[in-house]
């Protein structure tokens, strides 16, 4: 009886592998994690074109939301990856001002070389990420709680240290030309240079997450951590690496803002916590892990930024923008749920 089962399917195998080599279909697009984000972006653009004006697509208008998207997007990618892997990091809310203040205090207040300030700012990101990651891996305390702790600890540390060292909570920074050029210039007077960093990082993340083998590990970890570990994936190290990535990205954004605005404040960044989570979820990442995409997060971030800034191009009072964001989030989540169950129940039609 077993020899029958072994020989019969071989012939079937050959016919089917040749029939599904062709890759692209419209139905296939809707089963991808970014389908909801793409439609959401489309809807949001249409909304602001109807109720606002075409101005928000012209360079000056586009810059307003691209600047928001770029700053948010650089943090949203690692937050999204952590969410795919089944973790959360809210300490980025204080890592952004921590990154700003570190570079401003070292290179602005103490007038040490800017590169030292930049290195220290990023090193602080690596350090806080290691603390987050190691605590999460070692203690099995949910990462929301661990990073809630570091959120407050880092915020307090930054406030305390800057008052102790400089006597104020706001420090000026005059960056030399090269650093300004790389991290803090306005291209064509309106576009923050960080937009280009964001686009380059998008390409890098798409490669790492969707084309390199490591991306597979992140999804497997979020899908079933124990099975992933049993399959030989170094889940602890990967988790720690993702936390380091998110803290360091937040420090990077803070550092760029300090150089751009020639100053740093102790309290700037708490809004990034919710905004990045919204972008990631609108982008089709499953809150409980295992599902999502970089392109989705990219679209989700732009969608958020357009809603956030688009209100200024309409005649509405800007107080309504939170309502729009809330409704958009709910719609996006419902849509993403629908698309995900479509993807799950999908099976190829018999020809």
């Amino acid at each position: 009886m077993s020899s029958k089962t072994a020989s019969q399917p071989l012939a079937m195998g050959q016919t089917s592998t040749s029939s599904n080599v062709s890759g692209f279909s419209v139905g296939g697009l809707f089963r991808r994690p970014e389908a909801g984000a793409f439609l959401g972006l489309f809807g949001v653009f249409a909304f602001f074109l109807v109720f606002g004006s075409i101005d928000f697509l012209k360079p000056a208008g586009a810059a307003s939301w691209l600047n928001v998207a770029a700053n948010l997007g650089i943090v949203a990618f690692p937050i999204g990856l952590l969410m795919i892997a089944g973790e959360l990091d809210i300490s980025i809310g204080s890592m952004i001002p921590a990154g700003s203040m570190t570079v401003a205090i070292i290179s602005g207040y103490y007038e040490l070389p800017i590169w030292l300030g930049i290195a220290a700012s990023l090193a602080l990101g690596v350090f806080v990420g290691l603390v987050n990651g190691i605590l999460v891996v070692r203690t099995n305390v949910p990462s929301l709680i661990v990073t809630l702790g570091t959120l407050f600890a880092v915020a307090g540390l930054v406030l305390g240290l800057s008052v102790l060292l400089t006597g104020t909570t706001s420090v000026a920074l005059k960056a030399p030309a090269l650093a300004k050029y790389l991290f803090g210039q306005f291209v064509a007077n309106t576009f923050q240079v960080i937009i280009f960093w964001w686009l380059a990082l998008t390409a890098l993340y798409v490669y790492v997450v969707h084309y390199s083998p490591w991306g597979n590990w992140i999804f497997a970890m979020g899908g079933d951590k124990i099975s992933a570990r049993n399959a030989g994936i170094p889940t602890a190290r990967l988790t720690i690496a993702l936390f380091v990535l998110s803290s360091t990205s937040a420090a990077f954004v803070g550092m760029c803002q300090a150089i751009l605005f020639n100053s740093a404040q102790v309290s700037a960044g708490m809004s990034f916590i919710f905004n990045s989570i919204i972008s990631v979820v609108v982008g089709g990442v499953l809150l409980t892990g295992g599902f999502g995409s970089i392109i989705g997060i990219f679209f989700g971030t732009i969608t958020f930024a357009v809603v956030n800034q688009g209100i200024y191009f309409t005649s509405f009072d800007r107080n309504w923008s939170s309502l729009i964001i809330g409704v958009m989030l709910l719609l996006a989540v419902l849509m993403n749920n629908t698309f995900r169950s479509m993807a799950l129940s999908y099976s190829p039609k018999k020809k």
Binding site: M1, S2, S3, T5, A6, Q8, P9, L10, M12, G13, S16, T17, S19, N20, V21, Y207, H210, Y211, S212, P213, G215, N216, W217, F219, A220, G223, D224, I226, S227, A228, R229, N230, A231, G232, I233, L286, G290, F291, R340, A343, L344, S345, Y346, S347, P348
Partner: protein, 275 residues
């Protein structure tokens, strides 16, 4: 019976003060199915986690192909050819068939630092491996694993283990929660793996399933081996009694009958009495 591929000698395992495994000695032979039987909490999963490198034994030795071995984790065990499909796991519902098949051993194409995941190759190999086991309904490697039935998911996990050159295949309750037809399918795959010369360790609570594929049976009661016998040496009733932890099934049935007559034919409402 050929020479055992894996030999356990006096394996004990405790978690702190709790002794879960007690002096286990077993031989696992290629081309044979060893059925590991026992009640809930008898230590079956713990034993196979020790075999697959998830836990280290507290004492005792393991020999593989006649040489003493110690596993430094699941990856070490699987690289030596011990593949395990764990209870409640092994597949990733929201990943595609092709991607989940190759988790941890992703095929790549390209060169240097620009290696990319070879989706087409992964899908082709995965689909071929599954169809080889007779699951011909699966023919698209981009489908998500969560869209497959329970039996298909188990089959996928087994096909994966066999594909990666497993010599010992460990299955923790692969037929639990499956319907009759799906379970039959999994049993057929177990037989096919045996035919290919793998040593299979098969855990089940179903006597019928055990008798359908087993060559060699070991019954665990509270972490110790209570019986170790070969096919045909015991009747179905005897095996059932052993699996119930030594209480004879006849006694249990008598209790239930007594209860039913005392309660107007209603069966007792005991949670977890099934299986």
């Amino acid at each position: 019976m050929s020479a055992p591929i894996l030999k356990l000698r006096n394996i004990c395992k405790s978690f702190g003060p709790i002794d879960v495994l007690n002096d286990i000695s077993l031989d696992i032979c290629p081309g044979e199915v060893l059925c590991l039987l026992g009640d809930n909490g008898a230590g079956k999963s713990t034993l196979i986690k020790t075999l697959s490198g998830v836990y280290r034994p507290t004492s005792g030795t393991m020999e593989m192909d006649g040489k003493a071995v110690e596993f430094n984790g699941p990856r070490d065990a699987s690289s030596r050819g011990i593949a395990t499909v764990h209870q409640f796991g092994g597949t990733f519902p929201l990943m595609s068939i092709g991607r989940s098949f190759f988790v941890g051993v992703e095929p790549t194409r390209g060169w240097g630092p620009f290696k990319v995941f070879d989706r087409k190759k992964a899908n082709e190999i995965a689909i071929h491996a599954i169809q080889d086991f007779g699951i011909t309904r699966i023919d698209d490697g981009d489908r998500l694993v969560g869209g497959l039935s329970g039996g298909e998911r188990q089959s996928l996990a087994i096909a994966r283990a066999v594909h990666f050159g497993a010599k010992v295949l460990i299955l923790d309750e692969p037929t639990a929660a499956l319907g009759v037809k799906q379970a039959t399918h999994v049993l057929r795959i177990v037989n096919e793996a045996k035919r290919r010369g793998l040593a299979v360790v098969f855990i089940t609570h179903q006597v019928m399933h055990a008798m359908a594929v087993g060559d060699h049976f070991a019954v665990l009661i509270r972490g110790a081996i209570a019986a170790d016998f070969r096919k045909g040496e015991k009747t179905r009733e005897e095996i059932t009694d052993l699996m119930a932890g030594g209480e004879t099934m006849a006694e249990l049935e008598a209790q239930i009958d007594g209860y039913m007559t005392a309660h107007d034919g209603h069966a007792p409402q005991i949670a977890g009495a099934a299986v």
